[in-house]
């Protein structure tokens, strides 16, 4: 398949997944706020920190108020990682490869973008954002389902799945990080019902609460980390995402799993193996936040090597530079 097309499919899925996860970030915070004891102040700054766009935020907004943060993360067209920007980028990528995806996929991503774009000027969204963010999540799920059911499961689909799951691995780790940054009213609150409520909110935002209960029962932080980072069967856990992305990577190249023939396979294979042989105690000993930070950096390396391996074909002989233009 054309390198350019593969690149666009990969980013189409990453951007869609990213939009969905930004909706999840906001959702987790809205849920936590509902459960805070009355009188506590709402904490919105952490959301901006975990997306990694705090500098851009500070440039355009004064103060991490609820309104400002939701605007920045949802409707701000200057923020390349806002929901509307992600969906716009997803749609632009889809538009350049309309011949390679099913018309149903195009129609869904187009409808989804038009919905969010129209919502930007709708005052009711800010007044009650819950159902809107739920709509965004559902639209992304619908897109994923349509893709699963209408696209040829060929090379292009594997690029789709790889992009989607690498993005999800990164975002699940950041969702966990929300809990690290959201401060409890006091140190004495660690391990109290309030702490539990916040952990439950994290799980709920990853659509994981009930599945977690089936697996582990009561809310215990270490087991939540186990579930969202290391579980082999929960489709939003980091380990699951890495394994499935790795399967797609090998389906694309034909290299048997467990071996590598290019840097992408080397980096992703090594990362996946690390997760297969790690346990929660080691993560906690290192520090959850530090562990997740390291993961995010390694994922960037994987992404870079995928670009080098598949999308950036070197020109023949001559001096002409060939650059597909990187998404991000």
């Amino acid at each position: 398949m054309l390198s350019r097309v593969a690149n666009s499919i990969y980013w189409l899925s990453r951007y869609t997944e990213r939009a969905e996860n930004v909706a999840r970030f906001i959702d987790v915070n809205l849920q936590m706020i509902l459960d805070l004891p009355s009188g506590s102040t709402e904490q919105w700054a952490p959301l901006v920190i975990i997306t990694g766009d705090d500098a851009a935020f500070a440039e355009h907004f004064s103060g991490a108020t609820r309104e400002n943060v939701i605007r920045f993360l949802t409707f701000d067209t200057n923020n390349p990682n806002s929901i509307v920007s992600c969906l716009r980028a997803a749609r632009e990528n889809a538009r350049t490869i309309r011949e390679a995806i099913s018309p149903e996929m195009w129609e869904q991503i187009n409808t989804c973008y038009l919905m969010v774009n129209a919502a930007a000027s709708d005052p009711r969204i800010m007044a009650s954002p819950y159902s809107f963010f739920n709509e965004v999540k559902k639209a992304s799920h619908l897109f994923d389902g349509i893709t699963e059911a209408t696209m040829l499961h060929d090379e292009g689909w594997h690029f789709y799945r790889m992009g989607r799951l690498l993005e999800r691995a990164d975002k699940t780790s950041r969702l966990l990080d929300v809990k690290y940054f959201i401060l409890l009213p006091s140190v004495a609150d660690v391990g109290t019902p309030l702490d539990d409520i916040q952990w439950a909110a994290v799980l709920r935002s990853a659509s994981a609460l009930e599945m977690y209960r089936k697996r582990h029962g009561p809310i215990i932080p270490d087991q939540i980390i186990e579930f969202l980072v290391l579980d082999r069967e929960f489709p939003r856990s980091v380990h699951y995402c890495l394994t499935t992305a790795n399967d797609s990577l090998h389906a694309i190249s034909g290299t048997p799993v467990g071996m590598y023939r290019n840097p992408a396979e080397q980096h992703l294979g090594r990362l996946r193996a690390e997760f297969a042989y790690t346990d929660t105690r080691q993560i906690v000993a290192l520090g959850l936040h530090e562990f997740l930070d390291g993961l995010q950096q390694k994922l960037n390396l994987v992404d870079q090597s995928i670009f080098d391996t598949f999308f950036a074909l070197r020109p023949i002989g001559g001096s002409a530079t060939f650059d597909l233009g990187r998404n991000q």
Binding site: L2, R4, R95, T96, R98, E99, N110
Partner: protein, 477 residues
């Protein structure tokens, strides 16, 4: 809604007779529309527009940065062409395309038609669309214009004329197919009862024709659509056609010439391409041969083409046959190559390069339509009767400065068809662009794109100038 207050005025109306009765092919349609409950037609119109927006069937407007993406306005009342009239149109188009192809081939070889003094030498020599690089080329089976879109109009008296030929990269066929899909979804009952000839086979016909172009006996030649990219106004169509044919959509940057072959850059290395349906103008195809500053094309492409190792549709150089001053000679061209009288007449045309024509044109600008010979899309034209004295004076100056670049024609009273305007029916001028494929044989898609000038009184139907479209129903006999 009904047609009681609809006025056909002094124009030929495609649907109604001057007394308000429907033309015979449109009787059922009129009856069905009038029997719809109040407000229903408007709801259907809105549903159709919503469907178009959701499917992203849009085009880009140049020089409009804020809202570069618009839906091509669509009117739900179809335009009907009766079977017998269509037969005549189809014969006329086949004749015309066949003769124009022979003309192009002759021009790039012996130029017999020039030596026999049928087409003047200076017109060829001075034509900007003449491509020196194409002299002596022999495309497969001698066919140059594989895809043609010919614009037809009807004057007040009901006579149909060819207004212009488009033999480079005619666009619009995707709207024909999409308009039909939308009509079937919004008006299933009317559609079912009307015995309309289908248009759906166009993509398979196109693919079949493209595959037949590859000279070597390949089992299944690799076909791709070559587009300038998503910022081109017809990008939707390029992607649509590639999708409907199930072939790759490529851009210049995806292609490279390696070892005398055109190759695509894929995730697994290079893969050969055999046939390119190119939607890039000649000028931009190959910077080594045409414009050196082009970033859209593929360096070395023409060389591979000359060696017969890749096929291009349309062949480069076809623009010589749709130069608007050559157009004036098409009746003679048909007679010269085929020994036949032209079937669908031309509109009388004044060639400003001729002194006597020029002086007539300049002194009659208030009655004429003036067009630049190489422009399309409604750009570079003057509709004399609708212009101010100053605009006419300006055009007169341009004509005197560069007479070869202009032709003029009498202003026709283009036929009209009813469209929905603010919950009423109103007559608007229309044209028709049928699409013709030329491969092993000549195929004419039944119908084509009916374009509507949505501005009241306007004669310019181009989408870039506020035009819309309608579904075109060619009835079964």
């Amino acid at each position: 809604m009904n047609f009681t207050s609809y006025d056909t005025a002094e124009f030929f109306d495609e649907m109604l007779l001057p007394d308000g009765c429907a033309r015979s092919g449109a009787r059922l349609l009129k009856e069905r529309i009038e029997s719809l409950p109040n407000g229903e037609l408007l709801l259907r119109q809105e549903a159709a527009e919503r469907l178009l927006l959701q499917s992203g069937i849009t085009f880009n407007v140049y020089g409009d940065s804020a809202a570069t993406e618009k839906i091509f306005p669509f009117d739900v009342i179809p335009r009907i062409v009766e079977a017998s009239e269509w037969d005549w149109i189809e014969k006329g188009l086949k004749q015309r395309v066949c003769a124009l192809n022979l003309f192009i081939n002759d021009i790039y070889h012996e130029q017999k038609i020039v030596r026999d003094n049928v087409v003047p030498e200076y017109l060829i020599r001075s034509a900007r669309s003449f491509r020196e690089a194409c002299v002596g080329l022999n495309p497969p089976q001698g066919i140059w214009c594989h895809i043609t879109g010919t614009d037809l109009v009807r004057d007040r008296d009901g006579q149909i004329y060819v207004l212009e030929d488009n033999l480079r990269c005619p666009s619009g066929v995707s709207y024909v197919l999409e308009n039909r899909r939308v009509m079937k979804r919004t008006f299933p009952q009317v559609f079912e009862a009307s015995r309309v000839r289908p248009v759906d086979e166009y993509p398979s016909r196109l693919l079949f024709m493209l595959q037949s172009l590859f000279p070597a006996a390949l089992e299944s030649p690799k076909v791709a659509v070559l587009s300038p990219g998503m910022y081109n106004s017809a990008y939707f169509e390029h992607a649509f056609l590639a999708q409907q044919m199930g072939v790759d959509l490529v851009e210049g940057r995806d292609l490279v010439v390696v070892n005398g072959q055109v190759m695509m850059r894929t995730t697994k290395g290079f893969e050969r391409v055999d046939v390119l349906y190119r939607r890039i103008d000649d000028d931009f195809l190959d910077p080594q041969v045409f414009r050196p500053d082009s970033l859209l094309g593929v360096p070395g492409l023409m060389d591979v083409y000359k060696r017969g190792r890749v096929a291009l549709a349309n062949a480069p150089g076809t623009g010589i046959a749709d130069d608007k001053s050559i157009y004036a000679y098409v009746p003679k061209i048909i007679e010269y190559y085929l020994g036949e009288k032209i079937i669908i007449p031309n509109v009388p045309t004044y060639i400003c390069a001729k002194a006597e024509d020029r002086s007539y044109v300049v002194s009659h600008l208030d009655e004429l339509v003036v067009k630049a010979v190489n422009e399309s899309g409604g750009y570079g034209m003057l509709v004399g009767p609708h212009c101010t004295q100053n605009e006419r004076a300006e055009f007169a100056r341009r004509i005197e400065d560069d007479p070869r670049n202009y032709i003029a024609q009498p202003t026709l009273g283009l036929s009209r068809a009813p469209v929905i305007v603010e919950s009423q029916f109103a007559g608007r001028h229309v044209d028709l662009r049928p699409y013709i494929l030329y491969g092993k044989d000549i195929y004419v898609l039944p119908g084509g794109l009916t374009r509507v000038a949505l501005k009241k009184g306007s004669l310019v139907v181009n989408s870039s100038q506020g035009g819309g479209s309608k579904d075109t129903w060619v009835l079964l006999p």
